[in-house]
């Protein structure tokens, strides 16, 4: 190799011996590329690639976050729905209970009122009956005496006897009425 090189070096244009000006041009060319492609353009691309990686990673992260949030909202919603259902059923039961209570109360009240009315009516009837009986008794007495007086003449003037006869008659009458009542009832 060395031998060949030295032989070739004897010629004017040895391909293994660099031209000085080409060395300069080579350095210049490389520097131009190094500045434009290396120092200006490559960092720009590297920055964009970095941003792209972050954008993709960020996007994935955001999607995950969104999904988590959606799940949370869904859970919340479900819990709320459940609570609402429980509340509604409670409310319904309470209303039912209240209704039943109201009905029972009304019934009781109505019964009390009815009883009161019936009792009042009974008392009034009794009182009126007594009154009627009283007045009847007096009237019948007088009528009977008058009747008897007319029948027997003026013989029966003794008032004591008179009243005793009348009372007995009336008692007989009452007795008769009672037995009649017992039979009908």
């Amino acid at each position: 190799m060395i031998g060949a090189a030295s032989v070739l070096a004897a010629e004017e244009n040895n391909p293994l011996v660099p031209h000085a000006y080409e060395l300069v041009v080579g350095v210049f060319s490389f520097l131009v590329v190094m500045i434009v492609l290396g120092k200006i353009l490559t960092p720009r691309l590297q920055k964009v690639l970095e941003e792209r990686t972050q954008a993709i990673e960020g996007g994935l992260e955001r999607a995950e976050q969104a999904q988590k949030e959606a799940q949370q909202v869904l859970d919340q919603h479900k819990a709320q729905q459940k609570a609402a259902a429980v509340e509604a059923s409670n409310e319904r039961r309470k209303a039912e209970e209240q209704g039943a209570q109201i009905i029972a109360q009304a019934k009781e009240q109505a019964q009390v009122e009815a009883r009161r009315i019936v009792d009042n009516a009974k008392a009034q009837i009794e009182a009126e009956r007594q009154q009627a009986l009283q007045s009847l008794r007096a009237e019948i007495g007088a009528l009977s005496v008058e009747l008897a007086g007319r029948v027997v003449g003026e013989s029966l003037e003794d008032s004591a006897r008179q009243s005793r006869v009348v009372d007995r008659f009336l008692e007989e009458l009452e007795e008769r009425a009672r037995t009649q009542e017992q039979i009908t009832s």
Binding site: N13, F28, K39
Partner: protein
């Protein structure tokens, strides 16, 4: 010019294979400065093309890439995942600017070998790969002394715990390979591949040109056809080599940078 020099060399009526004169260029125009030659012009042009392509891709990179940015990103991903990351690991992003520049400048210089009108691989002039290899070499040694210590860098190259006589053999070999042969082979590998590729393409295309147009004969007709066919096949093959050598150069650069950042042993 290229074809002219080749044809001039073949002017005796007899076919002559092209040689090293393929790589000699006069100034672009008569009386022009000696340095203003075709390789120089296209070396700078290659750098500008590289910058322009990536400017189109990455001038205003978007989060959602469109058009050229997609293409540029494929290139970036390739350099990052196939060249840088296997060697540099967590240091990858910091060295991407340099590896991107190396890989794409070299690749475009190499592609010039098969671009009509240009048809010259810039790296077949050793000055260009040499400059790049020297830049990588300086970076490597600088990083080594900075990250491992100015003395420790050189002692780290030697694996400890071997029997003493081995070191008499190992130390010179290790230093020779790391500090002298590595940058040399780094540059020469690229240079030689491009040099040989260009010579082969020139040879077969000249065979075709010579036997079909320059001196068409009945006997030479078949040879000419074969020359053209082989030129086509070799052009496809060269496209692969061009990519492969750019890839290899950048990969070795990544390896050397990592060897400076951290001791291998």
């Amino acid at each position: 010019m290229n074809a002219q020099t080749v044809l001039a060399a073949s002017e005796g009526g007899e076919f002559q294979a092209p040689g090293p004169e393929l790589f000699d260029f006069p100034p672009l125009f008569a009386g022009g400065p000696e340095w203003l030659t075709k390789p120089v012009v296209f070396a700078v042009f290659g750098a500008l093309v590289t910058c322009a392509l990536f400017w189109m891709a990455f001038a205003k990179p978007k989060l959602v890439p469109r058009g050229m940015q997609n293409v540029g990103e494929i290139g970036y991903m390739f350099v990052r995942d196939e060249i840088a990351r296997p060697f540099l690991g967590k240091n990858t992003d910091r060295w991407m600017p340099m590896l991107m520049s190396l890989f794409f400048l070299i690749w475009i210089w190499n592609i010039f070998a098969v671009v009509p009108v240009i048809q010259f691989p810039i790296a077949s002039h050793i000055a260009f790969p040499a400059v790049l290899a020297i830049i990588v070499y300086i970076t490597k040694v600088y990083l080594g002394m900075k990250h491992q210590g100015p003395v420790k860098y050189f002692t780290n190259m030697i694996p400890p715990g071997l029997p003493l006589p081995v070191y008499f053999l190992l130390v010179p070999i290790e230093y020779l390979s790391t500090l002298i042969l590595a940058p040399f082979t780094h540059a020469v590998r690229l240079f030689a591949n491009m040099f040989a590729g260009h010579t082969i393409l020139a040879f077969f295309s000249l065979v075709g040109f010579w036997f079909l147009f320059e001196k068409p004969t009945l006997a030479g007709f078949g040879v000419g056809i074969i020359g053209v066919l082989i030129t086509i096949v070799m052009t496809a093959f060269e496209l692969l080599i061009q990519f492969l050598q750019a890839f290899l150069f950048a990969m070795l650069a990544a390896m050397y940078i990592q060897s400076g950042l951290e001791a291998e042993h």
